[in-house]
């Protein structure tokens, strides 16, 4: 899967620009504040239907304009598609081959995985960051996950609201069972998805981490949730979940919120057997985050039969020579976009067969090396 041409009109600091990337590695080079991240964001937006950094689509329109338009020619499973997104007064609309489509109907046409400095938070910060990572990555290649998650969140909100209402209207407790049942049904589907994904991720991420650490470190992941303590209990998970809800009913009613379920899940990341969040060095944490993210390359391939387009924003400058080289070699099957402020890949040894350098100056793009 790759992108042949990207057109941006009245989008961020791009007035009207057309970029024709290379099928291999594209270096997006430019000084600070020229529009490199904006370009990455446009591709992410086209593939996922939302921005990784703006919650309000209106922010994407160029200042003094109400609407923006972006259009990409992508090749997916050998078939050319045009994928467009536009906003009109803050409302987004997607078109596939000229026809308006719902956002979920464009899933899978153009898959991207993005790594940016903020992703270090997956390793460094609280459980919500890791749940967000799991949710985003799994729904990236399994569209149904997005719906299960959305239903789970609705059920959770309804159930929490009911738990609060029972305080002053105890007879409503007769309706709690049906919300418990739905919470269990949907929650278990969510957990099954996460377990299956983590199983695969664990293997892949450890492989990558081994490469990045020159074989000195092992990375291992484990799934933490408050329903089951081990995978042996998985076949019994619905019963165990039910028991948990039954025995905690009084407490949940007095708190007015749901204590048990995948909304409090976490994943423990260990390097050489030690919790990376607490004991990892900066460099170890960075390698772990990269390993987790770049594992998606192979995982997407396994699930969809195609390699995703890889977007790496602002991470290369922080890495040493060995890690840069290792990452580049991982990208040899994919189209990739790597932002940086200087031509860091030019080590003077002329090793740039597959590279294409696009320079960005104030929202204008210019190809400076075309291989």
């Amino acid at each position: 899967m790759f992108i042949e041409e990207l057109k941006l009109i009245h989008y961020r600091n791009y007035e009207n620009e057309c970029i024709t990337p290379h099928r291999g590695i594209n270096i997006i080079m430019g000084e600070n504040a020229q529009g490199k991240t904006n370009l990455i964001e446009a591709m992410f937006f086209l593939s996922r239907g939302y921005s990784h950094r703006a919650s309000n689509v209106a922010e994407l329109a160029q200042w003094d304009h109400d609407d923006f338009f972006m259009n990409a020619r992508v090749v997916s499973e050998g078939v050319k598609h045009t994928l467009s997104a536009k906003s009109h007064q803050g409302k987004r609309q997607f078109l596939l081959d000229g026809k308006v489509k719902k956002r979920d109907k464009i899933n899978g046409i153009f898959n991207t995985i993005l790594f940016e400095p903020d992703d270090l938070k997956i390793v460094k910060e609280g459980p919500d960051k890791r749940r967000r990572f799991l949710n985003q990555e799994i729904s990236g290649f399994r569209p149904e996950y997005h719906y299960i998650l959305r239903d789970y969140e609705k059920i959770l909100n309804q159930r929490n609201s009911l738990l609060k209402s029972i305080h002053y209207e105890p007879s409503l407790i007769t309706t709690l069972d049906v919300w418990d049942d739905q919470l269990i049904q949907t929650g278990v589907r969510l957990m099954n998805h996460r377990i299956r994904y983590l199983h695969r991720l664990n293997r892949e991420a450890n492989n990558l981490h081994q490469i990045l650490s020159l074989g000195k470190e092992t990375l291992s992941l484990s799934y933490l949730n408050n329903i089951i303590d081990s995978l042996e209990e998985l076949s019994e998970i619905k019963n165990l979940y039910k028991k948990r809800l039954e025995s905690s009913r009084e407490e949940e009613i007095s708190r007015g919120s749901t204590i048990y379920g995948p909304h409090v899940d976490d994943m423990i990341i260990q390097i050489n057997g030690k919790d990376a969040r607490r004991y990892g060095s900066q460099g170890q944490q960075r390698s772990a985050a990269i390993s987790l993210k770049l594992s998606q390359i192979e995982i997407y391939y396994d699930n969809t039969g195609e390699y995703p387009v890889v977007l790496l924003d602002d991470i290369f400058s922080e890495l040493d020579e060995h890690r840069r080289k290792s990452i580049l070699s991982l990208l040899n099957k994919t189209q990739a976009f790597i932002t940086c402020t200087e031509d860091i890949l030019n080590d003077g040894k002329g090793e740039q067969e597959n590279r294409h350098i696009i320079e960005i100056v104030q929202g204008k793009a210019q190809v400076i090396i075309n291989k």
Partner: protein
């Protein structure tokens, strides 16, 4: 809006309260209305008033009707032993269009939703149980929306009805997750009827 006469302004405001009518459409409609002939105006206003005055809820199934008992409930050719439970009267029109179903209906007028403060008391749930108790019903089909609220309502009612010895089924495959029943097209609705599961 001060540049309109007060009476026109009021008409625009009233029209703008209707669902799906924004300010621009309300203005367009208002200008259209004031240009109608006297005859057309009285026919329109009469239609509004009589619709409101004469439309009531069917005493059996609670769908909207202009009689005490609606046409479907009154029709002896319909299967009197099956009730299809829906959230809104509009769902009945969607199902009738498929011509696949020949039983009776029951309109709940909503679904259980704690966030909106809607419990079993606030929908026609008790009425459904009474109806099942009073007549010889063999099967109840839960055709509430495929949303978490519709699901909760179907499960809640199912739990109350099953012990009465009545078969309870739920529309199965074909309804996209999260979709409202009204919006599903006919083919998927037909499939949903064919594939209903006992709950």
């Amino acid at each position: 809006m001060g540049y309109y006469p007060k009476t026109l302004e009021r008409l625009v405001l009233e029209l703008g309260k209707l669902p799906g009518i924004g300010e621009k459409s309300a203005q367009r409609l208002a200008f259209h209305i004031i240009n109608l002939s006297d005859e057309e105006i009285s026919s329109l206003s009469e239609a509004l008033i009589s619709a409101k005055a004469k439309i009531v809820l069917c005493q059996k199934c609670f769908t909207i009707t202009d009689k005490e008992i609606c046409d479907i409930c009154e029709n002896p050719k319909r299967d009197q032993e099956t009730i299809c439970v829906v959230q809104n009267s509009r769902d009945i029109f969607a199902i009738e269009k498929t011509r696949e179903y020949n039983g009776l209906y029951h309109v709940l007028h909503g679904a259980i939703s704690p966030l909106d403060g809607i419990g079993p008391q606030d929908i026609k749930a008790r009425e459904l149980l009474l109806r099942i108790g009073e007549s010889d019903i063999k099967e109840v089909i839960m055709a509430t929306n495929a949303t978490v609220e519709g699901e909760a309502t179907a499960m809640y009612l199912g739990n109350l009805i099953s012990p009465l010895g009545v078969k309870v089924t739920r529309l199965a495959k074909g309804i996209p997750i999260g979709a409202d029943l009204e919006y599903t097209d006919e083919i998927t609705l037909i499939k949903a009827f064919e594939g209903r599961n006992e709950i």
